[in-house]
């Protein structure tokens, strides 16, 4: 199994982004997804910067994929998407069907991200016919469905699983980070920059439940599949995706690198838990509520 670094979902300072990818160049991950997938107002790293970062990562031997914006609203966002899909250097991860349309009609191969709804074999086969080379299993689907889908997987299509990260759960027209500061979206003052792992939303009983990341809502707990790595290997999963968190991402990649080589998972699991911003969950994998975590399943 290969390891990938998913697109950064948060709004980080430009230098933090550059530093992160400098380190990523020396990591065990074979694939790096680049680009802004949440909010088109986040422009500290521009299109040309992403292309330059991509070129350097490619030099370091990484497969580089450019990720597209998930929720398209303004006409300007569609224009930006068109530019992204025309780039001549890298394959594109489509996070919306508009990107699939642009890429497939241009005869270009593509990857689909977790927010493209591929729930059954017929969808998978259809997209394979359009140029799909890799797909990310929608995060709410479990191992049983993955198994069924793997059985029908078309030739030449790789399967990627969201292996670690706060779960991307929802997208809205509304910016919740701005709202939490009583600011309108059009005058958000880029508050997301203050929350490099998202802003915590708690219940009135202080249960840390969700995380606000601009127009996106994430799980407060970090979904992680470490205990299931051997099973995912058996199911023929090709890529495990590590979604960047503000700290410790490189160490987490090392942990998954060790795990895929067959190391004892128990000590790795313990260390992994200590590196997460809050705690872990894995319920989606086993057809439970996504927020559940069954630590007893540790191999």
């Amino acid at each position: 199994m290969k390891l990938s670094i998913g697109p950064i979902q948060y709004f980080w300072e430009r230098q933090q982004v550059l530093d992160f990818y400098e380190q990523a160049a020396n990591s065990a991950a074979e694939i790096v997804y680049l680009g802004e997938v949440i909010c088109s107002k986040r422009r500290l790293v521009k299109f040309d910067d992403w292309m330059a970062i991509g070129a350097e990562l490619k030099q370091s031997g990484k497969e580089v994929i450019l990720s597209s914006l998930t929720l398209l609203e303004a006409a300007s966002e569609l224009s930006t998407l068109k530019k992204l899909c025309r780039n001549s250097s890298f394959m594109v991860e489509a996070n919306d069907v508009a990107a699939i349309q642009l890429l497939s009609t241009a005869g270009r191969d593509f990857v689909t991200g977790p927010s493209v709804n591929i729930y059954n074999g017929r969808s998978l086969e259809l997209l394979a016919g359009k140029g799909l080379k890799r797909w990310v299993l929608p995060v709410e689907l479990g191992l049983e469905t993955l198994k069924d889908l793997q059985a029908r997987r078309p030739e030449g299509v790789e399967t990627e699983v969201f292996a670690l990260g706060r779960l991307p759960l929802a997208y809205s027209a509304r910016c919740y980070t701005a709202r939490s500061h009583n600011l309108p979206k059009d005058d958000c003052q880029f508050k997301c920059i203050d929350y490099p792992d998202g802003r915590m939303l708690k219940t009135q009983e202080d249960q840390e439940f969700l995380v606000l990341n601009g127009i996106q809502t994430q799980s407060a707990l970090t979904h992680q599949v470490l205990e299931h790595v051997p099973e995912l290997e058996i199911l023929g999963v090709d890529v495990l995706r590590i979604s960047p968190q503000f700290q410790h991402t490189l160490r987490i990649i090392e942990i998954f690198d060790t795990a895929r080589k067959g190391a004892d998972l128990e000590p790795l699991g313990e260390e992994l838990l200590s590196l997460l911003p809050l705690g872990a969950c894995n319920g989606y994998l086993v057809d439970q509520a996504g927020m559940e975590y069954d630590a007893a399943q540790v191999a």
């Binding site: 009609t105 259809l126 709410e140 929802a170 027209a173 202080d206 606000l212 509520a289």
Partner: protein, 331 residues
Amino acid sequence: MELVCPAGNLPSLKAAVDNGADAVYVGFKDETNARHFAGLNFTERTFEKAVCYAQDRGRKIFVAINTFPQPRGFDRWQSAVDQAAAYGVDALILADMGVLDYASERWPDLRLHLSVQASVTSSEGIAFYHQNFGIRRVVLPRVLSVNQVAQVITDSPVPVEVFGFGSLCVMVEGRCLLSSYATGRSPNTYGACSPASHVRWEEVEDGTNTRLNGVLIDHYGEGEKAGYPTLCKGRFQVGEHTFYALEEPTSLNTLSILPKLREIGVSAIKVEGRQRSPAYVARVTAVMRAAIDHCLLDPQGYRPKDQWMQQLAGVSEGSQTTLGAYHRPWQ
């Protein structure tokens, strides 16, 4: 502008037809549609009556088969498509690419609409479904401003339907997993958000707690009316504040912008609420019918009547309404 109204059972369907709906949309009694609630929707027998009632009166009937089947359930979605097609419905409202592919291949003459659950917000996205499955209408998610809807209509290869009234999804439809994160069941997989099976109302010393699979969604003080714990409409803490962090319990109401929707070329107005009562369907259909008729007759002179607004507020969540994302400041 066609008026498309919801029906979760036969009395609601009759209420929609009798009060002026141009089309009524329904679903079958299983997870093939996004209102999979206990006691709701149509069996084969009631479905046959529904089709007759609507079509005998010159109205259309649409069937929503708009959830996302996994491999083990795919045949049920196929059967739903076949059943609807066999009864000669006017259109299917579909979301999943696999189901669209099946329906367009098996029933090439049947009219297909792209459900809001397909989550398409741009002309390029619409073009994908148009080119591959021949969709003839798209229902847009409730995330676009009026100007953005206008842009989509300008570039869209097919006519556009938008939501005009009803409960408001604050997240882009078809890509919201909040419900399955808390309960294991989502609109995509199960056809229900915040399912009743996981809801608990809890009387406590100082009022009522509403929970979803144990998670506290809201707390209501003495005398405060407790609402259904739809996950995105609870009060949560962010920083120092406890508030409706995602969205207030409120309903979408577009009466004030109907002339604008007409002007930009909206083809159909959809009313949400298959889970609501026949009385709701009757009232909302009657108001929307009157409003659309006024608007089409005299777009310049049109003003929403106070009486209409009051009637709609009476059946709205939290008795309040909003223009939602159509109105930029809401965002």
